[in-house]
Amino acid sequence: MTAILDVQNLAVRFGPTLAVRNASFTVQKGETHCIVGESGCGKSVTALAIMNLLARNARRDAKSIAFAGQDILAYSDRQMEDVRGNRMAMIFQEPMTSLNPSYTIGSQMTEVLRRHHNTTRDLAEQRAIGLMQRVGITAPQMRLGQYPHQLSGGLRQRVMIAMALMCDPELLIADEPTTALDVTVQAQILRLLAELKQELGLGILLITHDLGIVARVADHVSVMYAGEVIETGRTADLFANPSHPYTRGLIDCVPVPGKIKPGEALGSIPGTVPVMKDGFSGCAFRFRCPQASEICTQAVPRHEVGPNHLVQCHLPSRQGGAQ
């Protein structure tokens, strides 16, 4: 397998606030990599940082962000514009507002292809129709002339996906693509993404807070907490052997039908994600961790607890498993 995206030591700061600290992960060609975490853990910022779409007051830093073997960290704005929407596409959480209300679906879909490839309007429309059909939009010919407000949320997200595929990208970044949709549509969209991955050999970076989604679609998972990737590994390994107390806590929060007895409280992690400032050291989870001890204020080592399964915690070393 080859990596389509390899992020090393990504850091994003907004003034004194550290939104992402030292995040590293790899997305392979033809696989879905999920970044999972609570609100405010920096997962959306990570996605925007890869696309270089951060707000003006944000500062991005990294050892490298390699896309298809090229370090895009050093790319100029113009070079990045040529990559975005073309080889690397993104869809968002808010299908209701992510399309421009003033232009037709057809105009918005063909625009991205004509921006990156020299093609006629007719050919671009043909491709748009084909892709809309592929993502399950009925009567695609008619949709070309429709405006976003005439479509439902689920349809709009399908349009966003079809639009993202217009230039045949190698990487699709999906930032909570199903959060705003109802459950049945959610399942359809997830199935669609899985099919597209298979068919097109697409690498997908899926940002979500929902472990249920992770279990269903992810090949690899990275768990983020307070701007750091605290555990990463193959989905099966991570669910079978969650090694960070936070990962275990997250899994305990998911209600499993049949296992939860009536009247029993659901699992929860008390407290919220702390805001990271300069000068913080040690484990950011220690304030909420049931297994925290003195050592957690010191720099946290990374341990390999299985093949490609990394965890950033003092626990394995305390248990004598340090490597």
């Binding site: 696309m51 779409l53 990045m80 514009e81 040529d82 990559v83 975005r84 929407g85 073309n86 596409a89 993104m90 968002f92 808010e94 507002t97 992510s98 399309l99 421009n100 209300p101 003033s102 232009y103 037709t104 625009e111 991205v112 921006r115 990156h116 405006y147 407000h149 966003m160 639009m163």
Partner: protein, 305 residues
């Protein structure tokens, strides 16, 4: 779209009818018209003769329908003061007011749109603050004062432009600039805030994620949405400019419709007053209709409404 225009046009027509009724009633509320036409020192007999001659002795409703019937054919009767047909008077003055209003609006847009966009693109920088300062100064400046200052500087001291009359296009330069200044502050602020809102929206993030160029993002995707409120206000401002340029027409001695309105009110020339009110209101209503249609063209969500 056709249904939308039809419905709006019907609405506009009913407003025009209401204005007709109001214009008619209000002129009659200002006093006994026959007495004011006859003038001070006239006898009761003179007043009665005038009342009969102008048909003011008939029931009010009959007078109203008579006036309405003729007005719909473009006949507004005769002016008491100018001894001419009212329609001729308005027809002669209209070109002056229209030239002034449209030039004023054009100047206002040429100044305020780039200024608003510039401020929005440089939000919270010194450029933005400079634009805000200019807008505030513009807002605080009375138009008659600006008119007089321009006359002194460009008309008298530099001698570049004529200071009064309507002889050539040069005569309209200063009045148009002064008139434009009444609309520039509002339009600039609206353009700026609309642009800031549009640039911060999700669809702009999508446009950036598509790798579109900066100019396409600003001028195609953001401007189209930011322009919607500006278009509405610009049409309304044009209405103000056409109907409310009395001060400027007076300062620069431009004999437009605003000036005519002021003259005929002071002379109680009620056929002219009624007609001017109706014509200006109709223009205003027409412009609102145009603004609605333009808005629907710009914003597809309104077309079904």
């Amino acid at each position: 779209m056709t249904r939308f225009i039809f419905r709006r046009a019907l609405l506009a027509l009913s407003v025009v009818m209401t204005v007709m009724a109001l214009a008619f009633v209000l002129t009659r509320l200002s006093g006994d018209l026959a007495i004011s036409i006859a003038g001070p020192g006239s006898t009761q007999a003179d007043v009665e003769v005038i009342r009969k001659a102008y048909g003011l002795d008939r029931p009010v409703l009959v007078q109203f329908f008579d006036w309405t019937r003729l007005a719909l054919t473009g006949d507004f009767g005769n002016s008491f003061f100018f001894k001419d047909k009212v329609s001729n008077l308005i027809g002669q003055r209209m070109p002056v007011t229209f030239t002034l209003g449209f030039t004023g609006l054009a100047v206002a847009l040429v100044i305020s749109l780039p200024l608003g966009i510039l401020a929005a693109l440089n939000e919270n920088t010194w450029i933005d603050r400079l634009v805000s300062l200019l807008v505030m100064v513009g807002q605080a400046m009375p138009s008659f004062w600006l008119g007089l200052i321009l006359m002194i500087v460009f008309g008298l001291q530099l001698g570049w432009l004529p200071i009064s009359g309507t002889g050539s296009w040069q005569h309209f330069v200063m009045p148009a600039i002064v008139l434009a200044f009444t609309a520039v502050p509002a339009l600039t602020r609206l353009m700026r805030s609309g642009m800031i809102e549009a640039l911060g929206s999700d669809y702009i993030r999508t446009a950036r994620a598509k790798g579109l160029s900066r100019s396409s993002i600003i001028f195609k995707h953001a401007l189209r949405n930011a322009a919607i409120p500006v278009v509405s206000i610009a049409a309304v401002q044009l209405g103000f400019m056409l109907g409310g340029s009395i001060v400027i027409e007076t300062v620069f001695a431009l004999h437009g419709v605003g000036y005519l309105a002021w003259e005929s009110i002071s002379k109680n020339d009620f056929p002219v007053v009624q007609a001017v009110v109706l014509v200006l209101a109709s223009i205003y209503i027409g412009l609102t209709l145009v603004s609605d249609i333009l808005n629907a063209l710009l914003d597809p969500r309104l077309r079904g409404a």
